[in-house]
C-alpha cells in the first residue's frame, strides 16, 4: 500500500509552520482575543458537592454599576432528553445543558449556577458575591464503590441502570453495566496452574493543560452567533451548541484560536453557551475565562476507578483466562470511558477465555472528560501489574512472558474486532534489544519495571482543500486544531505527494465557515485522518494539474505522467513542465485550481507501546525517583519524528505524574482541597530524567504512508511500569495510584 519506499519529506524534521508565532508570543490563543466593546463574564459555581437549588436571587448583582447581565439555566432553552453523536461518543443534551448551567440540582462542587457580564473581570467577580442562592444541601457520594451501594445517596431522580443492553427499573447511580465475553473463563481458570487476583484503585486525575478554558461570543441581533475559543474541535462545538441554544448550525460560526493543550479535556462545552447568552442579553461581545481552580473543580477530570483483575496461566507460560470487574466514576453525569477501558484491558494478549464486566457510575465529582487514551491507563495499571506478577511466579522475564502471549494480526480482540497488522510484538522485541534493558541496574532500593499498553485509533471525518498559488507553492486549508505540530505533519504529507518541500505548503487551520466538516483533534486521529485527507486533496491537485499540462501540450491527460515534481509528455520525452511551470499557467488553462478531499477513513491502526523504567525508592520516606525511562512504540510511519518523540515523551511524563503524585484530594463534604498547581503536583523538569524513545515502524496498511495515531498510547503503560519497578526495588506490590511517598512507605512498613 505504501506509495513509495523512499520519501523526500516524510521522516524529515522541518521547523513547524506555526513555530515562530509560538516562540515570539505572537500566536493568538483563546484568552488573547480582544475586540471593541468587550464585556467580561464570570461564573458563579456551587460551593456544595450535592444540593438542591431552592432559589436564585440575582437582583443585587444586577444593581451593581458596570454589571450588564446575569444569566441562569432559565436563559437556555429547555433541554431535551436525547443523545446526539459527536464522533468519539454520544452526549445526552439534557445532561450537557445541565452541566453548563445547573437545573434544579448541583452535582459537584464547582457546578455552574449563574454567570455575570460586566465591564471588567474584577467587577464581574464582585457581582458574583451578590447573587443569593438558597440550597438544600444533600449528602455527597465521592467513591465509585460507595456510589454503587443500594443505600447510597442518589444523584439523579430518574437514572435507571441499563444492564447488558436492557433498560431496568432499578433506580441507581449505576448508569450502565456492560460485558465482554470470550470462551469460558471458569473452565480457563480450572486449567490454569497459577492464578493471581488483585484489586486496584486509582484516584481522580486531571488533564492539566496549562491554558484554562476560555470562550468569547458575539450574538448579533440577526441571530448570527460567532464564538472565538480554544477547542479541540470547532465543528464539535458548533454541533453541540446548536441544540443547546436552540438555533441552526449554520447560524453558528466557531473560530478556533490556538489551543494551550487539551488532552481530551477541551471537547465538551463549558463556557461557550454562557458567553453566548450573555452576549445575546447585552448586545456586546462577552469573554469568559476560567481560573485554575475552576479548571480543576469544573472541567475534566479522568475517572477514579476500582478494578479487580484475575488472570490465570499454565506452567509453560501461556495466559489461559482473564477476568476483570471495572467500575469507573463518571462524575455528576453518566459517561465515563468505561467502554474504552474494557476494550483495552486485555487487548495486548492472546487469551482464549475472557470475561470483562464494566460499570459506569455517577458520583459527586465534575463530569469526567476524555484524557489521553481515556480509560486505558487505569485498565493497564491493573492488568499489567497482574501480568508482571504471573511472569515473576513462573520465573519468566517480564518481556519474554509478554512476547510469548502477545496478540498478533488476525487474532480476535476480546471486544470483537480482529487485529489488523499490529506491531505489539515488535515493541516488546525492541524493548528487549534496547540499550536500556540490556544495561544492568545496580544499587540499593532500585528497580526496573516494564509494562505495555494498547490504545485504538479512530478515523472519523476530515476535510482538506489545497489552493495552488501562481508560483507553485500551495495553501493547505484544514480544520483540525493543531495542539502539537499537526499543521506540519499534515502539510508534510501533502508536500510528499506534490513533490514540494514542507516549507512550500502553507497550512492554515480554518474556522467552521472556511473548510468542510472536521471531527475533533482527538482519538489519535489527526495526522492519520486529516493527513489522509491532505494526501487525497493533493492527488486531486495532481489530477487537475495533469489536465492542465495536457491542455498546454494539446494531448490527452493519460499521456501525462508526474514524478519528482515534474510533469512529462509520454509522447515527447523531452517535453517536461515542473509543478511551478504549470502553476504559473493556471490562469490561461482554465482558471484557479483547488484540490479537495473529504474522508472518513476506515483503515485505522491500533497503537501499542512498551515502556521501561528504572527508579529508586527512598526507604526512609517512600519517595520514588525516576532514574531512567525508555518509551518504545509502534508508530506506523513517523511523519515528523521529532513530534512523534514529543508525543511519546509527553505522554510518558503525564503517566509518571499520574503514577506518583497527581490526585484530587476531597474533604468529606466533597470539596477538592488541592485545586491549584501548587497542591495538585504535576511533574516539573526537576523531577525527571531525559525520556528516551524508540520508534518502531510497522506501517499501518490502512494509510497510504502507513501512519498510526501516536498521541495517546504513551500514557497507557507508565503507571503499571512504575508499580512493577517499585516491586522490584522494595518488594511491595502497589495497587493504588498515585503511589505517593506516604502510600509507598505504608506498604514498606506493612511488609516489615
Amino acid at each position: 500500500m505504501a506509495e513509495s519506499a523512499t520519501y523526500k519529506v516524510i521522516g524529515t524534521r522541518p521547523i513547524r509552520h506555526d513555530g515562530v508565532d509560538k516562540v515570539t508570543g505572537r500566536a493568538i490563543y483563546g484568552a488573547d482575543v480582544q475586540m471593541a466593546g468587550l464585556l467580561h463574564g464570570k461564573v458563579l459555581r456551587s460551593p456544595h458537592a450535592h444540593a438542591r437549588i431552592r432559589s436564585i436571587d440575582v437582583s443585587r448583582a444586577l444593581a451593581l454599576p458596570g454589571v450588564k447581565a446575569v444569566v441562569t439555566s432559565a436563559d437556555l432553552p429547555p433541554a431535551e432528553d436525547r443523545t446526539i453523536q459527536l464522533g468519539e461518543g454520544g452526549v445526552n443534551l439534557k445532561y450537557l445543558s445541565h452541566n453548563i448551567l445547573a437545573g434544579d440540582k448541583v452535582l459537584y462542587k464547582g457546578h455552574p449556577i449563574a454567570a455575570v457580564a460586566a465591564t471588567s473581570p474584577h467587577l464581574a467577580e464582585e457581582a458574583l458575591a451578590l447573587i443569593q442562592v438558597e440550597y438544600e444541601v444533600l449528602p455527597p457520594v465521592l467513591d465509585v464503590r460507595e456510589a454503587m451501594q443500594d443505600d447510597a445517596p442518589l444523584l439523579h431522580d430518574n437514572l435507571k441502570t441499563t444492564s447488558l443492553g436492557q433498560d431496568t427499573d432499578k433506580q441507581s447511580n449505576i448508569a450502565t453495566h456492560t460485558q465482554f465475553k470470550v470462551g469460558d473463563v471458569e473452565k480457563g481458570f480450572a486449567k490454569a496452574d497459577i492464578v493471581i487476583e488483585r484489586e486496584f484503585t486509582t484516584a481522580t486525575v486531571h488533564q492539566g493543560y496549562i491554558e484554562p478554558h476560555n470562550a468569547t461570543a458575539m450574538w448579533n441581533p440577526d441571530g448570527q452567533l460567532t464564538i472565538w475559543e480554544s477547542t479541540q474541535g470547532a465543528f464539535t462545538v458548533q454541533r453541540q451548541l446548536a441544540p443547546v441554544l436552540g438555533i441552526p448550525v449554520a447560524q453558528i460560526r466557531v473560530i478556533p484560536a490556538e489551543i494551550g493543550g487539551g488532552f481530551g479535556g477541551k471537547i465538551n462545552l463549558y463556557l461557550e453557551p454562557i458567553a453566548a447568552v450573555l452576549s445575546k442579553k447585552t448586545g456586546h461581545p462577552v469573554k469568559v475565562l476560567m481560573n485554575r481552580a475552576e479548571v480543576f473543580e469544573s472541567t475534566g477530570p479522568t475517572p477514579g476507578s476500582y478494578i479487580r483483575v484475575k488472570m490465570g496461566a499454565t506452567k509453560d507460560g501461556r495466559l489461559i483466562a482473564a477476568q476483570a470487574y471495572m467500575a469507573y466514576e463518571a462524575g455528576g453525569y453518566p459517561g465515563s470511558p468505561i467502554g474504552a477501558g474494557m476494550m483495552c484491558i486485555f487487548t495486548p494478549y492472546d487469551i482464549p477465555n475472557v470475561l470483562i464486566d464494566g460499570f459506569d457510575v455517577v458520583v459527586n465529582k465534575p463530569k469526567t472528560a476524555p484524557y489521553r487514551a481515556p480509560g486505558a491507563t487505569n485498565a493497564a495499571f491493573a492488568a499489567e501489574t497482574v501480568v508482571d506478577e504471573l511472569g515473576e511466579k513462573l520465573g519468566l522475564d517480564p518481556l519474554q512472558f509478554r512476547l510469548r502471549n502477545a496478540a498478533k494480526e488476525g487474532m480476535r480482540r476480546p471486544d470483537g474486532p480482529t487485529h489488523p497488522r499490529i506491531g505489539y510484538l515488535e515493541t516488546v522485541q525492541a524493548a528487549l534489544n534496547s540499550d536500556h534493558y540490556r544495561t544492568p541496574l545496580e544499587g540499593p532500593n532500585v528497580g526496573r519495571g516494564v509494562a505495555s499498553g494498547y490504545w485504538f485509533n479512530v478515523g472519523l471525518q476530515s476535510s482538506v482543500s489545497i489552493n495552488v498559488n501562481a508560483d507553485g507553492s500551495v495553501t493547505l486549508v484544514e480544520g483540525s486544531t493543531d495542539i502539537g505540530g499537526t499543521r506540519a505533519s499534515i502539510a508534510m504529507q501533502a508536500a510528499e505527494v506534490l513533490g514540494l518541500k514542507a516549507e512550500e505548503v502553507r497550512p492554515i487551520v480554518a474556522d467552521t465557515a472556511g473548510v468542510g466538516y472536521n471531527d475533533v483533534t482527538g482519538g489519535s486521529r489527526t495526522t492519520f485522518a486529516s493527513g489522509y485527507a491532505a494526501i487525497e486533496a493533493a492527488h486531486d491537485v495532481l489530477r487537475q494539474m495533469t489536465e492542465r499540462a495536457a491542455r498546454i501540450w494539446k494531448i490527452e491527460p493519460q499521456d501525462v505522467s508526474f514524478g519528482d515534481g515534474v510533469f512529462r509528455n509520454a509522447k515527447e520525452p523531452d517535453q517536461r513542465l515542473t509543478f511551478k511551470d504549470v502553476a504559473a499557467q493556471l490562469g490561461r488553462t482554465g482558471g484557479p485550481l483547488t484540490g479537495r478531499a473529504t474522508v472518513a477513513p476506515r483503515g485505522v491502526g491500533g497503537a501499542f507501546a512498551t515502556h521501561i523504567v528504572d527508579l529508586q525508592v527512598d526507604p526512609e520516606t517512600g519517595k520514588v525517583t525516576i532514574l531512567r525511562y525508555t518509551a518504545v512504540q509502534d508508530v506506523g510511519k513517523a511523519i515528523h519524528p521529532s513530534y512523534v518523540e514529543g508525543q511519546m515523551q509527553g505522554g510518558a511524563v503525564q503517566g509518571i505524574g499520574w503514577a506518583l503524585n497527581e490526585e484530587y484530594f476531597y474533604t468529606d463534604k466533597g470539596v477538592m482541597a488541592n485545586a491549584s498547581f501548587l497542591d495538585y503536583r504535576m511533574p516539573t523538569s526537576l523531577d525527571l530524567p531525559m525520556i528516551d524513545t524508540i520508534l518502531v515502524e510497522v506501517p499501518n496498511p490502512g494509510h497510504p504512508f502507513g501512519v498510526r495515531g501516536v498521541g495517546e498510547v504513551p500514557i497507557v503503560p507508565p503507571v503499571a511500569a512504575i508499580a512493577n519497578a517499585i516491586y522490584r526495588a522494595v518488594g511491595v506490590r502497589m495497587c493504588h495510584s498515585p503511589m505517593s511517598p506516604g502510600l509507598v512507605m505504608t506498604e514498606i512498613l506493612a511488609k516489615g
Binding site: T24, G261, N291, G484, Q654, F677, M690
Partner: protein, 160 residues
Amino acid sequence: MPTKVHVQMRLNGEEVDFLCEPRQSVLEVLRDVLGLTGSKEGCNNGNCGACSVILDGVLVNSCCVLGVETSGREVTTIEGIASPDGLHPLQQKFLEHAALQCGICTPGFIVAAKALLDKNPHPTEHQVRYWLAGNLCRCTGYDKIIRAVLDAAQTTEAKA
C-alpha cells in the same frame, strides 16, 4: 476620585506609560492594558511560570507583581526577546528541537531560560532543570526543552 494610577516604566527597551487600577497585576497590565498577550495566564498564583517576565534583571511571575510596582523599572517580556536581526538563539533552538507542542508555556520558558543564560551562560543539565522547575509544561515531558536550552547556551557561547 480617580480609580487608576499613572505609571511610567521601560518595557522591552522603550519608555512607556499607562493607567492601571491598583489591583491589576503586571500580567493584566501587559495583556489587557498594553495589548502584549505573549505572556500567558495559566494559574494566576505563581505556580506555572507561563507569565514569566524579567523585572530589573530578575525573573518574576508577572501575575504576582502589581502593575503599579513597575514604576521606574524595566520589564522584558517574550515580545522583547527577538531582535530586528532575527530570533534569539533560544527561540531558534526551541524550533529546531521541537521543544514546544501546544506552545502556551513556551513564552514563559523562553523568558525564564533567557534569565538563566544571562546569569549563567554555561549551565549544566541539572542547573537548567532546577532553574526551569518553576515553569510547567504538560505536553513535552521537558526533554526537548532542556536540550534546546543547553544547545542555545552552546550557540550563544560560540557567538560570544
